[in-house]
């Protein structure tokens, strides 16, 4: 089996729980214990109230498409040649955060703003799971 040859996340002290959650097929978000806001991307301090007290909670996995693009010309070409056309979207989660992702399980031509989507976990390699979304 050939090694996974696409960009892979380098988890850090802030993001490691998020990626570990994905590996377990759980979409985890930080909720601030100071002000109650969810935040994404992961960070030690809440940008709304500066509290560093937070807990990781499992998100519903439900959201809507805020905006999307369809990549037709692959860059880098050798990495994405077999994947185009593919859709990248910003999805607004029910918890009030916005997440970059791929929309799969749907011809990109049918993606619309506000479309309801739900998380689906793509085990792209033995080590990495990416949270993608499909029409709900």
């Amino acid at each position: 089996m050939t090694a996974y040859q696409k960009p892979v996340p380098a988890p850090d002290a802030d993001s490691a729980p998020f990626w570990r959650g994905c590996r377990e097929h759980r979409l985890l978000l930080q909720q601030c214990k100071g002000c109650g806001k969810f935040r994404f991307p992961a960070a030690q301090f809440c940008p709304a109230c500066r509290s560093d007290a937070a807990e990781w909670l499992e998100a519903s996995g439900r959201g809507t498409v805020y905006s999307w693009i369809v990549v037709v010309h692959p860059v880098p070409g050798d990495i994405y040649r077999d994947d185009v056309p593919y859709a990248v979207a910003l999805v607004d989660l029910e918890e009030g955060v916005r997440m970059p992702t791929n929309i799969i399980g749907c011809d990109p031509r049918y993606i619309r703003a506000g479309m309801a989507v739900t998380v689906t976990f793509d085990d792209v390699s033995a080590e990495l799971t990416l949270p993608k979304f499909r029409p709900a």
Binding site: Q5, K6, P7, V8, P9, A10, P11, D12, S15, W19, F40, P41, P47, Y66, S67, W68, I69, V70, V71, V72, H73, V75, P76, Y80, D83, P85, Y86, V88, L90, R98, M99, P100, T101, N102, P108, A113, L128, L130, K132
Partner: protein, 385 residues
Amino acid sequence: MWTLGDKYAIAGVGFTDYSKRSGRTVQSLAVEACGKAAADAGLAIADVDGIISFHFNDSVPAMSVATGLGLPNARYAIDYQSGGNSANLIIQTAVAAIEAGMATSVLCYRAMNGRSGFRLGGGRELAAHGITQYTAPFGWITYPQAMAMWCRRHMIEYGTTSEQLGTVAVTCRRNAALNERAMQREPITLEDHQNSRMIVEPFHLLDICLESDGACAVLVTSAERARDLRHRPVYIKGAAYGGGPVQGDDLFDAMRWPDHSRNYAHYIADDLWRSAGVGPADIDVAEIYDCFTYSVVMQLEGLGFCKPGEGGDFVQDGRIDRDGALPINTHGGLLSEAYIHGLNHVVEAVEQLRGDAGERQIPGAEIALTTAGAMTCGGAMVLRN
């Protein structure tokens, strides 16, 4: 807010050839453009004591160019790690340095082999660190891919069409045809725009700027000094820099941006016009940062040339042509002159205000706008002769 209206001026401009393959070092490009800007001002190199640039580690640092130029006393040599958002900011901070007594005459440059050397967005490693860990693994990597997301949102909100954006590309190319230094001078039609291949929906190839090898520079000094130099001074009447409350972790990142149908321009408009004491209706020529066609539309709206959502209509019917109500990008812009990251827009504005733009000259141009930026942060200036 900028409070130095008309106290400082751009006294000289310089530029190299713009090409796809310079065959030269970036340092030599920078030294050539800077040397020409000082000479254009009529200033001896020994009288230049400041130098500033911005880059993404795709250029040479200011100290290297100071060394290459033989500046005897580089009191102020500084680099910004950033992109086109800083193409006006470096001039504003050069002025701030002069005002503070840190220097008297400052060269502001951008130099790169942006096509034959390091191509923006092309050099990512497979290990995605920092904010990139949330984007690159989904194949969201290049700047066209980043900005297509904004463009789409504008289309969603307002029904802006690809054909409307095409007018910006056609206009820039028509202007470039009059510009000897432009890399793309062959006229295009709206049909050519629509038929150009899709790169990343909603962007066709002709929505996307060029990649260029080259350098340009401007020489900034006090208005008082500038009046004794070779050309009529081009005064910095007003200026602003900034963005929204969530500018992101890097220039690509806008995942927390509140509304992708408007960009930084919306946030700096009040500062810009108040500092300049004029408004959109007073602008004779506007050199607007056009890394992509849509960014022109979004900045026109943000700066108040029209209402939010009306930009697509605004650019129709010849309004932005050289003989229209608001001539834009008279050199061809990043879309057709060259991608010198927005500093080439300042060079063009200076030539227009001096009356030195030859065939491209907008008759009677007295007040010009330059902008630099497309996403969460950026800057702009109002220049006058």
